[in-house]
C-alpha cells in the first residue's frame, strides 16, 4: 500500500527513508512541478505556517530553492545567515534554537558545517527540522531532486547504473545519493582518486574504483561532484590540471557510458576541474533541470511535513 504521509516530523537524511516514503515524496513533487509553470505561482497550502531557514554555511542554490518553495506554498519564511547573528556573539547552538522555538516556527531548515546538528535540533525542538546539508554527512533534498530528475528521464530508478565521481570523502551529496539510490534498487559505482575515496565504502552497498573509465562503463547516469576544497585540510591531489586529466568528464570519456546516458552535477561546478564545459552545456546534461526540480522536491517535503497530523499518532 502506498503511504500518504511521512513517519517523522523531520527530514534528516535519506538513510532513514523507506522506499515507499521516497516514492511518496517524488510523486508529490511531480504534482508540485506545474505550479512553477503557472502565471500565478502560489498555492495557499501552507498559509500562516512559519518556516525558518538557518544557514550556518554559505549557500546560494539551496537557500534560494527552499525560499522559493516556501513562497510558492504561501508559508511565511524567515532567513537567517550565521554572519551578523548572535552566533558571532558567542551564543550556543541550543540557545539560538531555544530562542527561535520561542517564536514558534513550524519548521526549521538548517545547514551547518557540523554533521549531526540537524539531528540535535530535531531532538530538542517541537518544530520539524529539514537537513539542508550537515557537513560531509547528508543532504537529503539534493538526493531527492536528483532522484526526481533521473526518474523523469528514465521513468524509473530500479535497475539503473549510476556512476558517482569526484570528491566522495567530503561529499554529503554522494552519501545521501548512495543511500537513496541503493534503497530504490539502482546499482551505484563510486569513483575517486585513492585520497578522496573513503576506505570500506563498499559496505554502503556500492562498487568502488579509482579508474574513471571503468566506472563509466555501462553507466546510465554520470553524477559529477565538486572538489570540496574548503573541507580538504591538506593537498589531496597534485593539481586541478592533473585531476581533470584523470577524473574530469570529457565528451570522449562520456562515450564509454551508455549511448542514452545523462550527466548530472549538484553545483556549483568547477568547469575544467571535474567537468569539461562542452559536456556541462551539452544536451546530455540535466544540470539545469536538477535546479528546477529542486524547488518541486522541496515543496513536496515542506507540504508533507507540515500538513496532516499522521506523525502525531492520530488515527484516521
Amino acid at each position: 500500500m502506498t503511504p500518504t504521509a511521512l513517519r517523522s516530523k523531520d527530514l534528516l537524511g535519506t538513510e532513514e527513508l523507506s522506499a515507499a516514503e521516497i516514492g511518496l515524496i517524488l510523486d508529490t513533487a511531480e504534482s508540485m512541478r506545474p505550479i512553477g509553470e503557472r502565471q500565478i505561482k502560489k498555492v495557499p497550502a501552507l498559509r500562516g505556517r512559519m518556516v525558518v531557514n538557518l544557514f550556518f554555511e554559505s549557500s546560494t542554490r539551496t537557500r534560494f530553492s527552499f525560499e522559493t518553495a516556501e513562497k510558492w506554498l504561501s508559508a511565511d519564511a524567515l532567513s537567517f545567515a550565521a554572519k551578523g547573528s548572535s552566533v558571532e556573539k558567542g551564543e550556543s547552538l541550543l540557545d539560538t534554537a531555544r530562542n527561535l522555538q520561542a517564536m514558534a516556527p513550524d519548521l526549521i531548515v538548517i545547514r551547518h558545517s557540523c554533521p549531526g546538528v540537524p539531528h540535535f535540533l530535531a531532538r530538542n525542538l517541537r518544530a520539524g527540522v529539514v537537513n539542508a546539508g550537515d557537513g560531509a554527512h547528508e543532504h537529503p533534498t539534493q538526493a531527492l531532486l536528483d532522484a526526481l530528475t533521473i526518474r523523469r528521464k528514465f521513468g524509473r530508478l530500479q535497475g539503473l547504473r549510476v556512476a558517482i565521481a569526484g570528491d566522495i570523502t567530503h561529499s554529503r551529496v554522494a552519501r545521501s545519493n548512495i543511500w537513496l539510490l541503493t534503497r530504490m534498487g539502482a546499482s551505484v559505482v563510486v569513483c575517486a582518486p585513492p585520497t578522496l575515496l573513503p576506505p570500506r565504502i563498499e559496505e554502503m552497498g556500492v562498487e568502488a574504483t579509482t579508474d574513471f573509465d571503468e566506472a563509466l562503463e555501462g553507466a546510465d547516469v554520470v553524477m559529477m561532484l565538486r572538489m570540496q576544497l574548503e573541507r580538504q585540510g591538506t593537498s589531496l591531489f597534485p593539481s586541478t590540471r592533473e585531476y581533470f586529466k584523470r577524473y574530469g568528464l570529457t565528451a570522449t570519456r562520456l562515450a564509454r557510458a551508455r549511448p542514452e546516458a545523462v550527466v548530472m552535477h549538484p553545483g556549483p561546478m568547477n568547469r575544467g576541474v571535474e567537468i569539461a564545459s562542452d559536456v556541462a552545456d551539452s544536451d546530455r546534461s540535466l544540470i539545469l533541470e536538477q535546479v528546477s526540480n529542486g524547488v518541486a522536491v522541496r515543496m513536496a517535503v515542506l507540504y508533507l511535513l507540515l500538513t496532516g497530523h499522521a506523525w502525531e499518532g492520530e488515527a484516521a
Binding site: T4, D27, E30, Y303, G308, A315
Partner: protein, 161 residues
C-alpha cells in the same frame, strides 16, 4: 444533465468541462462526451486537484494525497462547467473556485453535481443537479463510476460509529 446544459447555455461553443478529483472527473468526461455527440463538436475536459486549496489541511488525518491538476487549455474568456459527484458542505467547491482562478480568468463558472445532499456550510449552489437527495448528517453518500469503481451506483450508507 447534458441536455439541460445544452438548453441553458447560450455560450455553448465556449464551454469547457473541469472535473474535481476524484469523482468529478468521470462526470465531466461523460457530460462533455454526451454534449459533444449532441452538437457534433468535442469539448475540452480538464482535471482539478484541490488538495493544496483545502481549508482543513492542518486538521485532516490521514494526509490527503496530492495529485496533478491537468488542464491543458486556456481558461481565459471560456465558460467553465465545474463538475463534482456530491455537493455537501460546499467547501470543496470553494477550494475549487480558488484553484481555478489561480489558473486564469474564466468568463463564467457554473457548477454541475450528480447528487446534492444538502447541509451547506457556505453559500454555494449548483446550476445543474442530477438528483437532490435529502440526507441526515450521519449518513454518507457513496457515488461509484464505472471508470473509477467498476460500477455506476449511488449508495446511501450509515456512517460507521
Amino acid at each position: 444533465m447534458a441536455h439541460e446544459i445544452a438548453e441553458r447555455s447560450r455560450d455553448l461553443p465556449d464551454l469547457t468541462f473541469i472535473g474535481i478529483r476524484t469523482r468529478g472527473v468521470p462526470l465531466a468526461t461523460r457530460l462533455a462526451a454526451t454534449l459533444g455527440d449532441l452538437v457534433k463538436k468535442p469539448f475540452p475536459v480538464g482535471t482539478l486537484d484541490i488538495t493544496l486549496y483545502r481549508d482543513d489541511l492542518s486538521l485532516v488525518a490521514p494526509q490527503p494525497l496530492l495529485k496533478k491538476t491537468e488542464i491543458d487549455f486556456d481558461l481565459n474568456g471560456r465558460a467553465v462547467v465545474l463538475c463534482d459527484d456530491v455537493l455537501y458542505t460546499g467547501r470543496t467547491v470553494r477550494a475549487a473556485l480558488d484553484g481555478l482562478i489561480d489558473l486564469g480568468r474564466p468568463r463564467a463558472v457554473r457548477l454541475a453535481v450528480l447528487i446534492d445532499r444538502g447541509h451547506r456550510e457556505i453559500p454555494i449552489e449548483a446550476n445543474y443537479v442530477g438528483k437532490s437527495v435529502p440526507t441526515a448528517q450521519r449518513e454518507v453518500i457513496k457515488v461509484m463510476f464505472q471508470e473509477t469503481d467498476g460500477a455506476d451506483e449511488v449508495w446511501i450508507l450509515e456512517r460507521p460509529a
